[in-house]
Amino acid sequence: MRITIPHIGNMYVAFRSIFNGVGVDMVVPPPTSKHTLSLGVKYSPEFVCLPFKLTLGNFIEALDLGAELLIQAGGPGLCRYGYYARDQAKILQDLGYSFEMVTTELFESRIVGVANLAKRLSNNAPFTRIASAMRLGMAKIAAMDDVERVVHQVRARETHKGMATRIYRETVQAIDDAQGHKSLKAVTKDFICRLRDVPIDTETKPLVVGIMGEFFIVLDPFSNMDVEIELGKLGVEVRRSAFVSHWLKFSLFLNAFGISEKDRIHQAALPYLKRDVGGDGWESVGEPILHRDEYDGMVHLSPFTCMPEIIAQNIMPTIKDRLPVLTIICDEQMGRAGMVTRLEAFVDLLWKKREAARRGESRQGRGFSVSLSSGGS
């Protein structure tokens, strides 16, 4: 059985490593492209959210390359991500493909569920082999995340724009190629050194902008039109709390013991939103409050018609004493030029705000918030 998993950013590196490690053939869908998007849009329901359309496009492209078993997230929840698999299976059947669709039900059974799935998919490979493959896969994600954190710092300060991004792309390739923990460590160390050697401007203290919003869009550069790279070009240091390694660690292990990494964010959100509304809506309310002393502003990413993020968007303007927020709504109509113009305007406003604060004109109180629907380019 040839397996495929749709893209979310660079997650394919980990999946490929895990499945190859247990001797399963994995078809990595071609990198998400305009073509993927147009395939997804063509066959998806009209007003479903962007991740549905993109992952459907990935499936179609992977099936054309010979994939037979599709893996999609599933399990009960408050947002329609858990419904994707049902509808996508029907769409693909109607298109005439023959395949099997497996949903992870990750959130119900955590690490045991993943291990069982791997065991089933790998023709009952011994658990030790599965465990070691998974360890390597997770280590690869952690390595990519470590490098990415450095990239965020370098990108904002580098004197020749684009070097950090180039090195990061090479890093992902090298991590993908790494065969074991030893070579992975060496590669990671090497690339972090290379990043540290990039000539940087040490004079200016860059703006710090947090990225928050819907998990898929935040982690998938195609969906968010490389918002992190664009901000880096404008000399902005990007921070975000959503890292795959972090998320996996908690959703697979620690949450089972009642430890949540998001408690602080939820505490901050509590006066404005008392309940988890699914997806990342609760976090999107809490983050601009929690980080108000650390960051200069936040960019909020949301797919068009995303239910949890709509709640957050409605609540955000009433929050007192929070960071300025730029909301970017992503769908198939998005245009990069339109987004960049708004980012530039937002960054200008943030510089003015910082300047005003430095001169002591304290502008306490509400942060402003700007919203950008996709469309104009």
């Binding site: 329901p45 009209e46 007003f47 479903v48 329609r80 509808d87 609540i315």
Partner: protein, 323 residues
């Protein structure tokens, strides 16, 4: 006497007898907002982010209508009414959403209803209303029992007597089911807050009647038939109100009727995928014809009527041919 406001939107159509009886039996006065109107819809829309779905905007308009008319507003946060089957985010975020966009809103009674957690379910005996209303109302237990009976009576009337919520809840409007002979039977499926709101769906029920069709709705099929419909089309239910679209679709597309009209609102998360599943199911040979109408605040009345007329013409022709 304390006044409790109940907005005439969203779950009003499902649970009004339950909630109004509960409060009235405790000696509180229930204030209901006016029927949806252009002004109510416009007031609600103007306060919310454009992307928000129509029923939530309309609901916000109803809350605005109640401001100044009551001491509390009842907006429960319904997470689940069945184990491991959850509701759309918007129902959960509703109390906080309303608090944010309507700052002048009276105190909100935001009871948590989450059957997956066990303790708090739809039955009013679990509401612990004393947390919101001080002093604690009397006769809480009896009121809860009576309310539940009222709820069951309401379900029974819809299922066994073919009464629509509008006829049951609003005796003044109980109207047009005159005895004139109607040759066609059409199922109208969708969430009650869409299909029974006479303003946002332009009195679709009356229009279908006027065009010579008898209308059946999801509630009339009964819970078991709807659950079987969901099972048949997608398997295990995912959304709390999945039976209103997928269940009703699965049931009526194979039933001995002439056609199915589905109403969904633009931008509704659950509807976006559910209606796709139903449309795909409707392609199987022998399924009844299906018309899908997507509504938002710009829906033109003439466009809707034209499409209904064309659909019923087609359905009538089909019925004649097979007769």
């Amino acid at each position: 006497m304390l006044k409790i406001g109940i907005p005439r939107g969203l779950l009003y159509y499902q649970y009004y007898p339950l909630w109004s009886t509960y409060f009235q039996e405790m000696g509180l006065e229930v204030v209901l907002s006016e029927s949806t109107s252009k002004a109510i819809m416009a007031a609600g829309s103007s306060r919310m982010v454009a992307e928000t779905c129509l029923p939530v905007k309309v609901y916000c308009g109803h809350v605005l209508d109640l401001v100044g008319k009551c001491d509390y507003i009842f907006i429960p946060a319904i997470r689940s009414i069945q184990k491991n089957v959850y509701n759309c985010s918007k129902f959960l975020g509703l109390p906080d959403l309303i608090k944010a966009v309507v700052p002048q809103c009276p105190p909100i009674i935001d009871i948590d209803i989450d059957a997956s957690k066990g303790k708090c379910n739809l039955h009013p005996s679990t509401y612990d209303i004393g947390r919101w209303i001080k002093p604690k109302p009397k006769r809480e237990k009896e009121a809860a029992q009576l309310a539940w009976q009222a709820h069951l009576a309401y379900l029974d009337a819809m299922r066994n007597r073919g009464v629509t919520p509008v006829e049951y809840l609003d005796a003044k409007k109980a109207t047009t089911s005159s005895a004139e002979k109607r040759s066609l039977t059409v199922a109208l499926i969708g969430h009650p807050y869409n299909i029974y709101d006479e303003f946002i769906t332009h009195r679709i029920m009356h229009r279908l009647n006027a065009l010579g069709a008898r209308v059946v709705t999801p509630e009339m099929a009964g819970n078991e038939a709807l659950a079987a419909g969901v099972e048949k089309v997608v398997g295990r239910p995912y959304w709390t109100y999945e039976d209103e679209i997928v269940g009703a679709g699965g049931h009526y597309l194979d039933a001995a009727i002439d056609g199915v009209v589905a109403v969904v609102s633009f931008g509704c998360g659950p509807d976006s995928t559910m209606i796709d599943v139903v449309q795909r199911y409707a392609k199987h040979p022998g399924a009844r014809p299906l018309l899908t109408l997507v509504i938002d605040e710009h829906t033109g009345e003439a466009g809707l009527v034209t499409r209904l007329e064309a659909f019923l013409d087609m359905v009538a022709r089909k019925a004649r041919r097979s007769a």
